[in-house]
């Protein structure tokens, strides 16, 4: 089945005609970042057996959906799926190595800075809910910087959100290797991945809840994003995308059913994922005033900064202020602190990196054009 042979018989809606830019994805990214920050803040509060009106209200409203408390996992599902959608689009215009380099440059340097900041905060001993003080050593920091913490027994995690970046990086490596396949047979990389995930899940001992098992359990979400992107851009038929998407969903369900110690108690992971698949499908093509607003555009650029900064910043604020001004006010201050820290992080780290990448890309483009003309 080739790209040309798979004329879309039934397809998702086409992108806006003017630019093809999916404004809805920006809105989804912002929603994902806010939800993840809220979830971790909520978990800090419930971890202390405390309550706050906002959290109680949201938990009461969402209880009939039987999703996880504090909107847990919703942000992760959104982020991973949106990542699959976006990177699949660019993988059709970037060379494999360039694709991988760009993703690595966008992810790794900000992660290193965030880990250094986390290292400093953890070493104060004020954020035990995030990481043990023992994790604040130079060898542990270096291990965290290269995801070694997830592979070397006994190593301690400095920044708990990093596991999703590891999954993304593994996906990017796979995606870059399969770009030639993707361009010729767009359905093949996700089908091949499903087979690899299935075999890996079968071969790994069920009691093992190590990193590899975590990766194969959660990586199907990015492939669902890839399939959404391929169906949307009419590279594969909608029914083919739905079939492969269902297989990846089943692999996710299987991982939950056969794994021990990998998924937290309480269930609801599959429900969150299925609801979020619907939300992404509906919202990704949103093109209204909210999705196109300058606010969403600005905030969407800062989502990675929020992702990296929210936990150390909010946890230290909560530790320092909870007993002084009460949980609700402390949570409010924590949100403001997250916003300020993320803005600072974006301006000092992510923004300059983005600009450097942009300049580099333009230089390469010019060099390419000259080369072709010569």
């Amino acid at each position: 089945m080739t790209a040309t042979a798979t004329a879309p018989a039934s397809t998702l809606p086409s992108p806006p005609k003017q630019t093809g830019y999916l404004y809805g994805l920006d809105a989804l990214r912002v929603a994902g970042a806010v939800i993840i920050a809220y979830t971790h803040l909520g978990q800090w509060i419930t971890g202390k057996k405390k309550h706050w009106p906002v959290g109680d209200f949201i938990n009461d409203v969402t209880a009939p959906l039987h999703i996880r408390a504090d909107l847990d996992f919703i942000g992760v599902a959104l982020f991973l799926m949106v990542s699959g959608v976006v990177t699949t689009k660019v993988s059709f215009r970037e060379q494999p190595l360039d694709f991988l380099k760009r993703r690595a440059i966008r992810i790794m340097p900000p992660l290193w800075v965030a880990l250094v900041i986390s290292f400093l905060i953890v070493s104060t001993g004020l954020v035990k809910e995030m990481a043990s003080v023992d994790a604040a050593t130079l060898p542990q920091l270096l291990s965290n910087m290269w995801f070694g913490v997830y592979f070397v027994p006994g190593n301690l995690i400095l920044l708990p959100v990093v596991w999703t970046l590891l999954i993304q990086m593994i996906y990017f490596v796979y995606a870059s290797c399969t770009i030639p396949l993707l361009r010729r047979w767009p359905w093949l990389p996700s089908a091949l991945a499903a087979a690899i995930i299935s075999v890996t899940t079968s071969l790994l001992p069920q009691v093992v809840s190590g990193t590899l098992r975590t990766v194969v359990a959660f990586i199907p979400m990015i492939f669902i994003g890839q399939l959404i992107s391929l169906a949307h851009s009419k590279k594969i038929r909608f029914d083919v995308a739905m079939l492969l998407g269902a297989i990846h969903l089943m692999l996710f369900i299987r991982a939950d059913l056969v794994s021990k110690g990998l998924f937290r108690a309480g269930g609801g992971y599959e429900i969150c994922l299925l609801i979020m698949v619907g939300v992404v499908l509906i919202c990704m093509t949103a093109n209204g005033p909210i999705a196109r607003s300058a606010w969403i555009k600005t905030l969407s650029k800062r989502t990675y900064s929020v992702y990296l900064m929210h936990m150390p910043v909010s946890y230290i604020v909560m530790t320092l202020l909870d007993k002084v001004i009460g949980t609700s006010w402390a949570a409010l201050v924590a949100f403001v602190a997250i916003a300020l820290a993320s803005e600072l992080f974006y301006r000092l780290v992510e923004g300059p990196l983005d600009r450097w990448l942009g300049k580099r890309s333009r230089r390469e483009h010019v060099a390419d054009t000259r080369g072709k003309m010569a």
Partner: protein, 346 residues
């Protein structure tokens, strides 16, 4: 997403057809392949595996049955308000299957066959059949309906009338009529646990209202934010009913409603292949007949066939019988409609 109307809107027929086709397949599977073996102490491995791997993890209860019914009601609510149509014709299309299947069910029970009646040991009587025919068997406390799924068409009929009222009144009716229905539902939930099947009707009417709201949004009859607000209110009422009525506790209807709305909204934005359009269109045209005959003809055929055949074959045979009966019902009703038109023209 009322404030994000980005894509060209496809006509309602494809959206309605997909929802109805999916919904009715779920209903037939749920009642013939899922419920029948449960009620008769059989273990059907295919269904058991599906429950283990799909239904339980995703929170879709009763073998997709409620989700299927919600899709049907969502589609009917949408159809009622998306564009004007002949009300009398629509009412006849909803009511005729009820009338015919009530007679068929009475006949089957009189012959000693089993039908999917919720009340055990139901015996046909002139009064009992009359309750079914006037669609009140599920509303009367202590009523013993022969048509176990007749209440679904009762909700659909009500939704059709509400949709027609919305279109006829125009203006603010796009939000006022749904609001009125939701107020009635809210009032009934407030009163307390109802007897009989009224709890089901109270719980499912809001989903038909959400369909009406989606139809009004499609026809641009009211601002998106108002319809969205009413949609959330409708969902809230489903959740409230679940919490308030002990007989609905544990069925997870709010989650099924969420899935139904997401599915309907997603599929309403896609175009279909000729082949898919044919299949969904064929199923959609027969939905109401398939619905009423599943619990009557289908149930009776499985009951008889399992004496001679393995359950899977019996259930497949029953499905074929339901399809055949539905085809006959549809063709007969089309014939009657044609004759009526000719008489009117003459």
């Amino acid at each position: 997403m009322p404030d994000q109307p980005v894509e060209p809107r496809h006509g309602p027929p494809s959206a309605i057809a997909v929802a109805r086709a999916t919904g009715i397949v779920m209903v037939v599977y749920s009642y013939l392949f899922g419920l029948w073996p449960d009620r008769h102490g059989l273990r059907f491995e295919l269904v058991v595996e599906a429950r283990e791997w799909v239904n339980r993890p995703l929170g879709i209860g009763e073998d997709f049955g409620p989700l299927g019914l919600m899709l049907l009601l969502l589609a009917s609510g949408y159809a009622a308000t998306a564009r004007p149509s002949n009300l009398l014709g629509r009412v006849v299309r909803v009511y005729l299957p009820v009338l015919v299947s009530a007679i068929v069910a009475s006949g089957l029970v009189a012959l000693g066959s089993e039908v999917m009646s919720n009340a055990a040991g139901v015996r046909p009587s002139a009064t009992g059949m009359l309750w079914d025919v006037i669609m009140t068997a599920h509303l009367v406390p202590g009523g013993a309906p022969l048509l176990a799924l007749g209440w679904v068409l009762c909700v659909e009929l009500f939704s059709c009338l509400a949709g027609a009222l919305t279109i006829a009144l125009g203006g603010h009716a796009a939000w006022a009529v749904p609001l009125g229905q939701l107020a009635v539902v809210g009032g009934l939930v407030l009163v307390g646990e109802p007897a009989g099947h009224l709890a089901l009707i109270i719980s499912y009417l809001p989903i038909a209202v959400i369909g009406q709201l989606l139809g009004s949004y499609h026809a641009k009859r009211a601002p998106g934010w108002a319809l969205l607000l009413l949609g959330f209110t409708a969902w809230g009422l489903i959740a409230w009913a679940e919490k308030s009525f002990a007989q609905l506790d544990g069925w997870w209807y709010p989650l099924a409603a969420c899935y139904a709305v997401l599915y309907f909204t997603t599929t309403s934005r896609m175009t279909l292949t000729t082949w898919s359009r044919l299949v969904t269109g064929w199923l959609a045209a027969r939905t109401r007949w398939l619905l009423v005959f599943t619990g009557t003809v289908g149930w009776a055929v499985v009951d008889v066939a399992t004496d001679a055949l393995p359950f899977l074959l019996a259930a497949v045979l029953a499905t074929a019988a339901v399809v055949l009966a539905s085809e006959l019902g549809l063709r007969a009703s089309a014939l009657l409609a044609n004759r009526h038109r000719q008489e009117v023209a003459a």
